[in-house]
Symmetry: C2
Subunit: 189 residues, 2 copies
């Protein structure tokens, strides 16, 4: 997944994967059959991970729990990097996840604001902007001088996002949870 994320699927070779995993190229074939199947396996792994984190974090209201935040910061980075690349490389699974995020956001916006506004466009743009930071994480990290996926970088970017986006579009509840969560993390160091 790390190699796919860094180089793209096409530029990543089975032999390179095997070398990074310290096994023979034949073993990769033995386990996954084809390169495309391996890519799908990565897709499914990321998707199941993200679904679980959304359930635990958002649905179960753990967004401000330090142990949840710490766990995410420890496990998510490589998966997020892969997701970012998959969105650009044209993975069907990543496209489906994008659409799902847009629909979730759209319902959120429509609930909070019953006007005639273009909720679909707002939800789409909001989703693309958030994921855009993930896709461009390399450039964000360089411009910041700090790894986006290190605690410092994540907090700076998170706060900047909260500053830039009108609060009502994040959902008041999520907004407050995210802010207090960020402040807790910041207070720890």
């Amino acid at each position: 997944m790390a190699l796919f994320a860094e180089q793209g699927v096409k530029a990543t070779t089975i032999r390179g994967i095997a070398e990074a995993a310290k096994v023979s190229p034949g073993l990769v074939q033995h386990h996954f059959g084809t390169k495309e199947a391996l890519r799908q396996a990565c897709d499914e792994y990321v998707l199941s991970y993200l679904r679980e984190q959304v359930t635990v974090g958002v649905t179960d209201h753990n967004l401000d729990k330090p142990e949840f935040i710490e766990n995410v910061h420890r496990t998510a980075p490589p998966l997020m990097k892969y997701l970012g690349r998959a969105l650009v490389d044209g993975s069907p699974a990543a496209a489906a996840m994008f659409d799902e995020l847009v629909s979730m956001t759209e319902e959120h916006l429509a609930d909070d604001d019953r006007s005639e506004a273009d909720h679909r466009a707002r939800a789409t743009v909001l989703t693309a902007m958030k994921l855009g930071i993930t896709v461009l994480h390399e450039h964000v990290s360089r411009a910041l001088g700090t790894d986006l996926y290190a605690p410092q970088g994540a907090v700076r970017v998170g706060k900047a996002q909260l500053d830039l986006i009108r609060p009502e579009f994040l959902g008041r509840e999520l907004f407050d949870q995210a802010r207090t969560g960020l402040e807790k993390v910041e207070g720890q160091r």
Copy 2:
């Protein structure tokens, strides 16, 4: 450039480029030498184009001129798609452009708001979010049901951006120009 943008540099073949241009593979080599040199030529072309458009549009205050907007909408899309891919594929030129945009945005923010806020992080995130829409244009278009680079799609996305981002961070002047420009375009149809 279109092929590089759609498939990525690694997945694009010289033969594919030659076929699309209806010439022989040898001719591509004859003109550009190597694939890497061709890619650099694309980078430089996009960069010079963007610099010129920024000069004409922002510096010369033409952001609300219909002829400027129309010209951009007609010529920019393939270039923007290439830029989006170049940012992910690791082109040095695209990275430099990203940094330049961040610096420009940062000065803008610092001028408008002299507080102790983290202008660097805000400028970086703002740049990444805007470019994120370009990078993810395929997904944005699909979610919208309209091509992002068709006039309708561009207007919807532009207005959604203006709605989502706190106006003060776009610069009051740019904000007003962009809004009136969008409304003019919208009024034309």
